[in-house]
């Protein structure tokens, strides 16, 4: 029987969410990388260019600069374009402030490289109280 696939995170906020994972090798900025009118990663050359973040659980190794996330997350939430969760390796206060303000689940830090456990398209569950991300099913 396959062992439970899980990632433990260092810090977390928000509700328990379950959804499709997108695992990025590149960091993220909602102002510089995202079209906030479609929910699609729009920056030319971004490793996720053309993908929609809406309803997804997003794994990013890092956060990029810009204080815009605070309002931007709130904006995309109200437009129905928000992801279910942000899972960061290393984040910055802006992402956290913005996610908390918009009530989007967010975590920082992981005990193993997400790629070793989770691939884009897998269904995962994020439990902020337990600080744990579990693989629910493979793509």
């Amino acid at each position: 029987m396959e062992q439970t696939k899980a990632i433990t995170v260092n810090r977390a906020f928000g509700d328990i969410v379950e959804g499709e994972a997108i695992v990025s090798e590149e960091g993220f900025s909602p102002r510089y990388d995202l079209d906030r009118w479609s929910g699609i990663i729009s920056r030319p050359g971004h490793k996720l260019e053309g993908l929609s973040i809406t309803g997804k659980i997003l794994f990013f190794p890092s956060a990029k600069g810009g204080v815009a996330a605070g309002w931007a997350f709130h904006d995309i939430k109200h437009k129905g374009l928000a992801p279910k969760a942000f899972v960061f390796g290393v984040t910055n206060p802006v992402m956290v402030q913005g996610a908390i303000f918009a009530n989007i689940t967010i975590t920082e830090g992981w005990d193993c490289v997400p790629h070793d456990v989770i691939r884009t398209g897998d269904i995962v569950r994020v439990d902020p109280q337990l600080r744990r991300i579990v693989l629910v099913s493979r793509k």
Binding site: R11, A12, F13, G14, G27, R31, Y32, D33, L34, R36, S42, R43, P44, G45, S62, A63, K64, G65, G66, V67, A68, A69, G70, W71, A72, H74, D75, K77, H78, K79, V90, T91, N92, P93, V94, V96, Q97, G98, I100, F101, A102, N103, I106
Partner: protein, 426 residues
Amino acid sequence: MSRMNKHANADATYDMELSPEEQAMLRGEKGEAVQEAIRLQIEIAKFWGAKRMVPVTNVHIMGDMEVLGDAGKDFLTSVAAKNARAACATTTNPRCVDFAFADRLGQDPEIVGKEMQVVSLFKTMNIAPVNTCINYQTVYQPHVGEHVAWGDTGTVIYANSVFGARTNFESGPAALAAALTGRTAAYGFHLDENRKGTFLVEINFTPNDYADWGAIGKLVGEMNQNYLAVPVFVGAGSPSSDELKHLGAALAAYGSMAMFHMVGVTPEARSVEDAFGGKQPSHVMSISQADIDAVYASYNTNGNPLDLVVFSGPQLSILEIAKLADLFRGKRVKPGTQVIVTTTNGVKSHARQIGTLQTLEEAGVLILEGVCFYILQNLSQMRESNGWMNVITNSAKLANNVGAHKLNGILRKTSDCVDIALGTGA
């Protein structure tokens, strides 16, 4: 911020030390807006493990329609309706509209109207709409150890590094909360332990342009993307305020960094040992002239015209305007090319008094006030209608940030930018 209730009520104070005044805020004794603000702050504190709040003397907040959206504007309206007032001196970051040029730039009249309403809402809340990202040069200079809550990453890194003041990146809603409560959670760069250097950067050449300083920031930032990474620069000479501005803005834009030290220049780096506080650097970077040359060589025009030159991000100081005026004096921007400068209302006014504004205008340069180029409302549509593909700029930060609008940013030295604008260079 009422949306925080569900989470905040479950564990309202966890193990934070709240002062009697903060407890009164949490009970709602200072009004609903303040109560909701401190609830948000406590939830943020909880994420980062902050044990207490720190009073702040100054708040700088981002809030323009381009990023607020209707939801953000509605939120500001609801907060203002609760008689919210800033508890300490509070100012605003650039807008997305220069009202005098909105028509000429083809900006959406409906959103321009909403931007006017946002300015009015800020005034109602005792927040001064100075609309600048160079508040550290034009509005307020906090002293060593002074706690502030600033938005715009470029303002934060300047405050922490050059002034030795203390702030984290404060996004719009977080900065608004700080304005209403007069405090912020004590984590990140408010704490001594996070302010020491983490790695060393040796500068082995003599930077001689703002673009060189931005290129250094790009190289260091891209290689070390981490909010809590603090580079310690040695061999950097004695840069000016504007040079430090371009360095910091690029470090923040490319590396999400909020602080640097420069030995012999910044106040918490009287020596290398002082900057590292007894810690060992995790690694050492060396930057040579060849590295900077490689940055400039990395940009590609893709065979498209060089018909847009922008000096912005951060807004220009009065001294940067004067240097540009010297380069443009008596010359004309080549037909078909647009040159844009963004600055503050105050700097533009001074430039008019001095005469440097007229010099630039006579050369055909468009000077916008209270805005930053890459956040202009309708920028993507402006790109399409003007057929712009490339942006030539001396700002490494801007060269990065215009990518969101599918513009190809190209970093060049200031004089090269001017030569391109005049049609005398490539």
